[in-house]
């Protein structure tokens, strides 16, 4: 009896469950589904079942991060200890003995700058340390124009170009530069230094390839550093090496997705003073399908018959240079920089170049000054001829005549860089630091004799620039900036002074060096 009861109970409860199950919406479908699956093929049903089990497991799994934080877990006490122990490093590193000595003797100009300046110690000296090549600093017409603009427009535009900062004078300056170079467009930046360092990241992104000269200046290095692209360097001004690097890049990239490729170099090199072979460069960039970014900071307003830069001097169409970057601050005596190129190149920068978008526009008076001085160079190329005469006169006094230094600058470059001759460096085993010291002594000696010159200041090596450019070191040099504010006679006289100063320092050095054990 008991057994029958149990049986009945089981049957009843099964019926109950079935009834309840059938009342659940969709249950009929599920039963049909399972039945039809099973009837058809058990293997396929098994596969489905495995999939469903996996799926349920996946849904139930707890989430976890795959990014392991690259930090050490510290306890509260450890954190407190570390905070107590920490002493802040000084914001500015203490000066080295060399820097201290240099800063102590730093000449201070009192009153307006020009070709002859009054120093704070009361002496009047010849100034060959300013980028005042055409003496626009002392030009009344330029000054008058600037004052006029100042009265109309005020001091600064008080806003980035895209945010109420652009004024008609900026657009005029852009048009002036573009028509002078013969490019489709031009964009004016507010600072010369940050022009190239924001033009490069505006176009180059991670994965792109940049082939750059080893000797490019600090601003370019900064641009290369922040653009995240792959950088390849070629030997300074060696077109054969450039071709080798380009071929290597082409070969490496042949099976990879196409990326943007650029050659970045300077017109006149800031650190060496020589000039690039532009026709060859254009030929190579066309042959290997690269774009060319040319930094004409030191050559625009200097090279060529009317100062249009390297493109004019070497008879290259400026539209062949994809991004032509220049400065309005040096030879043009205004301020800011520009990038000229096709309309696409220029308009792209208006929203994607950091220093254009995020810094206040160029003050109106600097824009008009740039237009004015550019116009003066165009209409009166004699200024350039006069400057070149002065360069020649200075060079005659220094380069072949001096036993100690040679001029690495190109013959038309008004910034003359005088580096120690290699045989002297070798025979005396002068390190970079020692050469710098010698150069500083020459500067001091020249100043005592009434000529203010300066030396090439080395910039810190940009970090993160892939570390593949360690081979190149800037050679310390004297920097002599020629100006038309002085007559040929005065320039020659200054040249003699500089030459004698160098000789005096180096002969003095020689005696002190001889005291060392017979090195050579």
């Amino acid at each position: 009896m008991e057994f029958q009861d149990a049986q009945q109970f089981v049957v009843r409860s099964i019926n109950e469950i079935t009834n309840r199950f059938q009342k659940v919406p969709g249950s009929a479908m599920l039963i049909r589904y399972i039945q039809s699956s099973y009837q058809d093929d058990p293997v396929r049903s098994a596969i489905e079942l495995i999939l469903v089990i996996f799926f349920i497991r996946y849904l139930l799994a707890p989430s976890y991060a795959t990014h392991k934080g690259n930090f050490v877990k510290l306890t509260e006490e450890e954190i407190d200890d570390l905070v107590d122990e920490w002493t802040p490093e000084p914001l500015v590193a203490p000066q080295s003995a060399f820097e201290e000595a240099e800063n102590e003797k730093l000449p201070v100009i009192v009153g307006p700058t020009g070709s002859r300046v009054k120093l704070s110690n009361g002496r009047t000296v010849t100034n060959l340390a300013s980028y005042n090549f055409y003496n626009f600093v002392g030009n009344e017409q330029v000054k008058e124009k600037a004052i006029q603009t100042l009265r109309t427009y005020g001091v600064g535009p008080c806003g980035p170009p895209q945010f109420y900062g652009t004024q008609d004078v900026h657009m005029k300056t852009e048009a002036d530069i573009a028509s002078c170079l013969g490019t489709e467009g031009c964009i004016v930046y507010a600072q010369a230094f940050s022009t190239i360092s924001s033009v490069i990241p505006a176009f180059c992104k991670r994965g792109d390839i940049i082939v750059a000269d080893r000797a490019v200046n600090y601003a370019i290095r900064k641009g290369l550093e922040i653009c995240r692209s792959t950088i390849r360097y070629y030997e300074h001004n060696d077109m054969e090496d450039l071709e080798r690097v380009l071929q290597k890049v082409i070969k490496e990239q042949s099976k990879k997705p196409l990326t943007r490729r650029f050659i970045v170099t300077e017109g006149l090199f800031e650190a060496v003073g020589d000039c690039v072979d532009l026709p060859k460069l254009v030929e190579l960039k066309l042959r290997y399908k690269f774009r060319l970014m040319l930094d004409e900071t030191w050559s625009f307003g200097v090279m060529g018959r009317t100062g249009r830069g390297l493109t004019e001097a070497q008879n290259v169409d400026a539209s062949q240079v994809d991004m032509l970057v220049g400065s309005l601050a040096g030879p043009l005596c205004a301020g800011g920089g520009f990038c000229a190129g096709s309309t696409d190149v220029v308009e792209h920068q208006r929203i994607s170049a950091a220093s254009y978008t995020f810094s206040a526009a160029l003050p109106a008076m600097l824009a008009t000054t740039a237009s004015e001085t550019l116009n003066m160079l165009q209409t009166n190329p004699d200024i350039l001829v006069q400057c070149r005469e002065n360069i020649k006169a200075m060079r005659a006094q220094l380069d072949p005549r001096s036993d100690w230094v040679h001029c690495t600058s190109s013959p038309e470059n008004p910034v003359m860089l005088l580096a120690l001759k290699p045989d002297i460096v070798n025979s005396r085993r002068l390190s970079i630091g020692e050469q710098e010291k010698v150069m500083q002594e020459c500067v001091d000696e020249a100043l005592i004799n009434g000529v203010l010159i300066t030396r090439l200041k080395s910039m810190p090596v940009a970090n993160g620039a892939n570390g593949k450019d360690e081979g190149w070191k800037l050679q310390p040099a004297l920097k002599v900036c020629i100006t038309t504010g002085l007559s040929k006679k005065e320039i020659e006289k200054a040249g003699v002074t500089i030459r004698h100063a160098i000789t005096k320092v180096l002969t003095r050095k020689a005696s002190s060096k001889l005291a060392l054990p017979a090195a050579s």
Partner: protein
């Protein structure tokens, strides 16, 4: 520096390899801005929520509904083509959804509209979602869609062997790359040797 270099080198020449870990520079670029390309999968209704940490808010938002809408639209599209049977229509719906989602989540790498300086150029969208975390709500949902769609389509194709095989291979194609095991794994055959940087 040298240690990093070693870390980024390819370890063996096998067919499968792991995408090397990012450099510090790379990671800081990734962290600099929200990754809009991947964050939208967690979008809730109208307001786009930007989640950088693993503090997700499970939500059934517009970014999830769109999958169902698209599947329904595909099904209708294949249904209205004359001469297409229910079996073919379900199979076509299944494989087109699988193909589309494979392309979007697993094939295309990087970010379509550049804003992170190329910081995600080496990762596909699945690996970018939730900053690479596994078993997150979005990933669970995105895995469940193809599986449910597969179960539906095998059911409606009445377990025909050909249709089953096609549908099953399609679902495998999108489920395997979604597994935690496949995270940052590359098949050398398709993506070529990794770059040695």
């Amino acid at each position: 520096m040298s240690e990093q270099k070693v870390g980024r080198r390819r370890r063996s020449s096998s067919l499968l390899y792991q995408e090397p870990p990012e450099t510090i520079e790379h990671m800081s670029d990734q962290a600099a801005l929200p990754n809009l390309n991947a964050d939208w999968v967690n979008a809730k209704g109208e307001s786009l929520r930007i989640e950088n940490k693993i503090g997700f808010n499970s939500s059934f938002g517009g970014a999830w509904t769109i999958h169902l809408v698209l599947i329904a639209a595909l099904k209708i599209l294949f249904d209205i083509i004359p001469g297409v049977s229910q079996e073919t229509s379900w199979t076509l719906t299944n494989i087109s959804y699988m193909f589309g989602s494979f392309l979007m989540f697993h094939w295309v790498r990087g970010v379509p509209f550049e804003f992170n300086a190329g910081a995600y150029d080496n990762l596909n969208m699945w690996e970018q979602i939730d900053n690479g975390a596994q078993y997150t709500p979005a990933k669970k949902f995105l895995l469940s869609v193809p599986i449910v769609l597969f179960l539906l389509s095998t059911h409606y194709t009445h377990y025909d062997l050909t249709y089953f095989t096609i549908n099953f291979l399609a679902v495998l194609g999108v489920v395997i790359p979604k597994l935690p095991y496949s995270h940052r794994t590359r098949v050398g055959l398709f993506s070529g040797a990794p770059e040695d940087r």
